[in-house]
């Protein structure tokens, strides 16, 4: 069987700088896969290559056996990907409910729309703020709203770039639990993250990027006990 998401020898250079060079990555159906690495490792660039906002300089990407390398982001989304970007990008001038509405109206019939909106608002704990403008929400809530919009698309693969940036410890923990429960319902998740506590909470498999190349990969247990990874990224003191 073809891999669920398969990036093969993918590279991206900006001018003379190779941000990502020759990365292979495969994500299996039904897993939570984390992509980590120190600052400037090429995580976000790699993420944008998967999403389609950048076109790779070389290499190919396949999703459920279909080559999606040259596709527009919107076409990838229609095939079942859903994306949460690093900075919360919600429609700030529109009410929270309308944000969800726009994400939903794709594939939900008019009669079911209000119920689905309520369900997502409830899930994201935003029901009380449904009529506020999205831009007036606290940073963490905007992140949640965007996750809600990503979920509105009923994705089979959820892609998240630092979903917990700017969240409090408690919000981060709840986000982790949410991701785990979505995964338990069968959603495949690829997360780019920085926060090791969060990764320990959710990750099953981890790929470490360093200077645009795959540095290590393995289960979460293997990665956090790998002294080489500790050296480049975690700092030795963190291992204990």
């Amino acid at each position: 069987m073809a891999e669920f998401l398969q990036a093969t020898a993918i590279s991206k250079t900006f001018g003379g700088l190779a941000a990502v060079s020759g990365v292979d990555l495969s994500v299996d159906e039904g897993e939570i896969h984390c992509l980590i690495g120190p600052n400037g490792a090429g995580k976000s660039t790699f993420f944008k290559l998967i999403v389609g906002t950048y076109a790779p300089t070389a290499g190919s990407i396949a999703f459920r056996g279909e080559n999606i390398t040259g596709m527009q982001p919107s076409a990838r989304v229609r095939r079942g990907m859903s994306i949460k970007m690093q900075t919360p990008s919600v429609f700030k001038e529109l009410p929270v409910r309308q944000n969800i509405h726009i994400a939903l109206q794709h594939h939900v019939s008019k009669a079911d729309l209000p119920r689905e909106e309520d369900r997502l608002l409830d899930l994201m704990e935003l029901s009380a703020d449904a009529n506020k403008l999205a831009g007036t929400l606290a940073h963490g809530q905007q992140q949640w709203l965007e996750i809600g919009m990503a979920l509105a698309l009923k994705p089979t693969l959820l892609l998240m770039d630092e979903p917990t940036a700017g969240m409090s410890t408690e919000e981060t923990f709840r986000t982790g639990e949410l991701i785990k429960s979505l995964n338990a319902q069968g959603m495949t998740v690829l997360v780019v993250e920085h926060d090791m506590a969060f990764i320990r909470q959710i990750a099953q498999r981890v790929t470490v990027l360093h200077f645009g190349k795959v540095f290590a990969r393995g289960s979460i247990g293997e990665i956090i006990t790998d002294p080489r990874v500790a050296e480049i990224y975690l700092g030795k003191t963190h291992v204990a």
């Binding site: 919107s74 989304v77 970007m85 429609f91 919009m149």
Partner: protein
Amino acid sequence: MALGLCLLWGYGGMLSFGQTFFFGIGGYSYGVLATNFGGGGMTLVALLLALLLAALTAVILGYFMIWGRIGGVFFGIVTLSATLVLAFFLGQTAGPEWRIGNARLNGFNGMKGMDPLTIPWFGDSQIYFEGTYLFYLVVVLIVLVYLALRILVNSRFGNVMVAIREDPQRAELLGYDVRKYQLVTFVIGSALAALSGVMYTSWGQFIAPSSIGLPAAAMPIVWVAFSGRSDITAVLVGSFFILYFFQMITVHSQQAALVLMGAMMLATVMIAPQGFVVNVTRAIGRFVQRRKASAKEA
């Protein structure tokens, strides 16, 4: 024309200086076609063909701009250039060699003498849309266009348009092909401008390059900005009042009217960037609510 621009700019986030470009295309096409077809019911065919031609031009121009990822200020610059090119081109068509069929383009003096819109009626009688009849027709058209746009902006399509204005990347990542939506919006807005062009030409049986050039091109932007670009009702009301006052002042001095337009634009930018009509309406709304609130307390 103003309603079309409101759709483009207020809802679609595309500032187009090209409204008079399409106004001109609509007007001239109608002029050329109506002159060649002769009058009568064929003027309706000329109307439809003129709209079609303008829409087609919008598709081509829009395709290159939107697929070329021209956005923001540059969208304005490209549409403005197209407008000026058309105005200058038509301006130099004074010689007798510039004719299409029986229609002379006449350079800066403009085309004239085409038949007004006509509907063949029962038997041999015909309805000419002149004077009062034309006025009613225009009113009916404005109402229809207004209602159609209301339906459009409150539909799924309108939602997506607003989403694209707010954050094109987010809209793209929700699975909407941003470019297709922008192109359709551009074509609708432009076709409305062309419709205005046809009506204008039919009304005065006259169209000239000065209806296309820079001062004319800036006008719809002033109307829409002044009224409030994010609301088609405000634009309808605002444009009506502006044009009304504009006509009143023009009777005394055309320069004064243009200067006033400029002043209004500056005032809008500095005092009420959301648009005056929108702001005034909101202020009245707040006032009424306060009155209600104090009435309850008392």
